[in-house]
């Protein structure tokens, strides 16, 4: 790899790369993110390589394997540049046709086009797909433009020029000021103003300082950090380099969970490439600035995402939070001033330096600037990773991007922010994605998980799910979190199993309040949010569980029974065959019945029945 010693070298290299690429008349962009790999993108990639060889197209068609494009449920995805033709659900068997028809003859393989589930129309290019159209993809766009294992790709799209600009045209103070002016807030959950954090760390006494990238991402359902780190590791590195220079740090750490093997691999390759090209190491780009990065793999404990626990883990100690009476910007890793930021926060930095703080601050709402990546899942038509301008109303995300409910059941609520967040009812869907507004409504953006729920979701059960998660993930150090969460779970379990009492609702609220005031770390402080927010908006569901011993959504097993509707039942016997406990009796062509004594309420009969004759009471 060529060493890049000056900003000029960088510019020359970029021009050369672009020149070399002029020979390509088309580029096959295939998503190799974790989602698409799970749907066998690997086989497609091998097949493409073979076909390109067979047709002697290696010199004229470029193959780029990239990180996640966001629309994982449609994977494996292929985009063919320059027309940006979009093919989904591609299998190795389709490759021959793509090469012979689309690449060689400019014909479209209609079968592989995307069908809009709302209108039923076939759509040719990515930008016309409603899922993409309603987004504002500032960071995620780049995922499609670069092969994460190729520093050339990143340099080709202008990578590391922001670093050059900061090192030679700006003082560290002015970099911090620029970040302050951009009003960038941390994307890791807390929404702490990044500029303020940097300024405090810069001013903290000590000549040794650290920057850390938090890629622990433990919220169930969230995977935006994984996709950014996996798909565009150099962007995160460049952000860290800029931050380190502004703060005065010469050592950085990336704390990434080991359950993200591809992210670990890609960031390793990226760090290696950056070292070889002189973008990490001593005298970066010919300046006096030295910086290197170490990658540490986390064992996957949710609590290790918390700043003090993460630093303890980096130091080789048990990953448990410590009281933060002195902030980590002053007393952090190895008791040195430390700046910890989330992957997405770092990824926002290069663009702010390149385009200026005002360009960044022009997007977003009053208190929340820029864009936010969200992991959109649940009962909607389109799921995946989406990036929207801050301030976008929730309803736009659920209905425009997500395409609305994926069956006839109407959407009832959305859960944002994972275990620290809360559930918001449909009436609140006008609320914007904004740190403060969601917080005031009893939820939060958190790291960006967004789970859409329909009428078949029981809100008490949702609260129970998150409490179970938190009980397992609490480190157990402090009393309110360890005992408080387990007591809350005990109460909520009682409610879902028909033993609940009305006064326990008040106890839940009081306990929640105690936790939020007294727990040691953010995990315990926010642990009650799922319960408190469902109590705030869906109190009557709790009351029905307690007073009538019924689960309106038909989820809580102890409170429901299955029965066969004699009207619609055709006596086909499918349910009888499927029942693992032989609880269903009745001969062919005769009335079927469920023996409630034997029934374990597994619901298999209900999913087997073709006539929706199994009903829940």
């Amino acid at each position: 790899m060529t060493k890049i010693n000056t900003v000029n070298d960088l510019e020359n290299l970029r021009n050369k790369i672009l020149e070399d690429r002029e020979k390509f008349r088309a580029t096959l962009v295939i998503c190799g993110g974790t989602g698409c790999q799970a749907s066998r993108a690997g086989g497609v990639i091998d097949e493409i390589k073979k076909e390109l060889d067979n047709h002697g197209l290696n010199e004229s068609v470029c193959l780029r394997t990239t990180g996640c494009h966001g629309f994982c449920e449609q994977g494996p995805l292929i985009v063919i540049e320059p027309d940006n033709l979009f093919y989904c659900h591609v299998t190795p068997d389709d490759v021959h046709e793509i090469i012979t028809k689309t690449i060689l003859n400019n014909e479209i393989v209609e079968r592989l086009l995307y069908t809009d589930p709302v209108s039923g129309n076939l759509i040719k290019t990515e930008s016309e797909i409603p899922f993409y159209k309603a987004q504002d993809r500032q960071i995620l766009t780049q995922n499609r433009q670069v092969d994460p294992c190729s520093i050339e790709d990143y340099i080709a799209i202008g990578g590391y020029t922001a670093l050059g600009k900061t090192l030679f045209e700006m003082s560290p103070e002015s970099v911090v000021q620029e970040i302050m002016d951009s009003e960038l807030r941390g994307r890791g959950g807390g929404g702490f103003p990044t500029g303020l954090k940097w300024a405090e760390c810069r001013e903290a006494p000590g000549d040794e300082k650290y920057v850390i990238c938090n890629a622990d991402e433990g919220d169930p359902g969230a995977y935006m950090d994984r996709c950014v780190l996996e798909g565009n590791p150099h962007l995160v590195l460049e952000g860290m380099l800029i931050g380190a220079w502004a703060i005065g740090a010469s050592q950085g750490h990336i704390y990434v969970r080991n359950e993200y093997p591809l992210a670990v691999d890609n960031i390793r390759v990226a760090v290696q490439q950056a070292r070889e090209s002189g973008l990490l190491g001593d005298g970066i780009l010919g300046s006096k600035f030295s910086f290197d990065v170490e990658i540490s793999r986390g064992g996957g404990a949710f609590v290790c995402g918390e700043s003090t626990a993460l630093m303890a883990s980096l130091e080789g100690k048990v990953g448990e939070p410590k009281p933060k009476d002195v902030h980590t910007v002053i007393d952090g890793l190895w008791h040195k001033p430390t700046t910890l930021n989330n992957v997405e926060t770092w990824a926002n930095v290069p663009a702010i330096m390149k385009n200026g703080s005002s360009a960044f601050a022009a997007k977003g709402s009053k208190g929340s600037k820029g864009t936010k990546i969200l992991a959109l899942t649940g009962c909607i038509k389109n799921t995946g990773l989406v990036e929207v301008e801050m301030g976008t109303p929730i309803k736009n995300i659920v209905f425009d991007i997500g395409g609305g409910a994926n069956n006839e059941k109407p959407v009832k609520a959305v859960q944002t922010g994972g275990p620290s967040g809360g559930c918001l009812p449909v009436e609140k869907f006008d609320l914007p994605v904004d740190f403060d507004e969601l917080y005031d409504a009893g939820s939060m953006i958190g790291s960006g998980g967004m789970v859409v729920m329909d009428e078949e979701t029981c809100m008490v059960d949702v609260a129970k799910y998150f409490l179970t998660f938190l009980q397992d993930e609490s480190c157990g150090k402090c009393v309110p979190c360890r005992i408080g969460v387990s007591r809350m779970l005990e109460i909520v379990t009682d409610i879902t199993e028909g033993r609940g009492k009305l006064e326990q609702i008040n106890l839940l609220e009081e306990l929640g309040d105690t936790l939020s005031h007294t727990a040691l770390c953010g995990l315990g402080k926010t642990a009650a949010n799922p319960v408190l927010s469902t109590l705030r908006y869906f109190r009557e569901e709790y009351e029905i569980h307690i007073e009538e011993k019924k689960c309106p959504a038909g989820v809580c097993q102890e409170l429901i029974t299955y029965a066969i509707d004699p009207e619609s039942c055709t006596f086909c016997g499918l349910c009888k065959k499927a029942c693992p406990h032989n609880a269903i009796t009745g001969e062919k062509k005769q009335a079927h019945e469920i023996d409630l004594g034997l029934c374990i309420k597994c619901g298999i009969c209900r999913s087997e029945c073709k006539f929706e004759s199994i009903i829940i009471n």
Partner: protein, 231 residues
């Protein structure tokens, strides 16, 4: 000489050496903030959360544990407000319902105003205050005692659950354990989540002088290190 600072705790102006915790400063002065995991001269971890106080910073109240908060000049600390009492009551209630037959837990709970718990009793032998783990030094400074597991599975254990050769049998862990006092035979039955009257009888004194140490004995060995004699 160590630098001295002056801070305000519950209206009293208190001088304390820099580096002291607010809890220690308060205890030395005679303001008895309930606490459990704190042991003097051992690093505090702030795990029981009983010692919470309101720290007034720029007119805004922040709730933190006083054992981990270091004294600073002009600090404003309130250790005994309605809010703190309510929260502390709830924490003590959680604690005592884990080990209702422990005298130490009962004393603490009753001091914090808990006479009855709203949770079913779990009769645990250990409430994970971590006093033993932190006091343990072992041979060569290697600790034969530590926490194992996470969350509800957290427990104190020796390596591989075997008495380690590194244990120098100093007995500190046992001295400091709040659970080794003879158990109270009153309140163990589930369904009757009431604390027995034995410890309660001592409560009347403190109720009158909330927050101030009156040499009430029941902190002995567990809470106040101040014995009534040198008050």
């Amino acid at each position: 000489m160590t630098q001295q600072v002056t801070l305000n705790i519950d209206g009293a102006l208190i001088r304390a050496a820099k580096g002291t915790s607010v809890l220690d400063a308060a205890l030395d002065f005679g303001i008895c903030i309930p606490h459990l995991c704190h042991v003097s001269n051992i690093e505090d971890i702030g795990s029981c959360r009983l010692c919470i106080v309101e720290n007034i910073v720029n007119g805004r109240s922040k709730i933190t544990t006083s054992c981990t908060l270091l004294v600073q000049d002009d600090m404003m600390i309130l250790s005994n407000t309605d809010k703190i009492r309510r929260l502390r009551h709830n924490i003590a209630e959680l604690l005592v319902s884990e080990a209702p037959n422990s005298r130490a837990m009962q004393d603490i709970a009753l001091r914090c105003g808990v006479e009855e718990t709203r949770y079913s009793f779990r009769n645990n032998d250990c409430i994970l205050c971590g006093r033993c783990v932190r006091a343990c030094t072992g041979e060569f400074g290697v600790k034969p005692l530590g926490f194992v597991g996470r969350g509800k599975d957290r427990r104190v254990e020796a390596p591989f659950n075997l008495r380690s050769k590194l244990c120098n049998e100093c007995g500190r862990c046992i001295d400091l354990c709040p659970m080794v006092m003879p158990a109270c035979d009153g309140p163990m039955e589930t369904g009757k989540e009431r604390l027995c009257g034995n410890c309660e009888s001592k409560l009347s004194d403190t109720d009158l002088t909330l927050g101030y140490c009156v040499g009430c004995y029941f902190g002995e060995g567990i809470q106040c290190q101040r014995s009534p004699i040198n008050v």
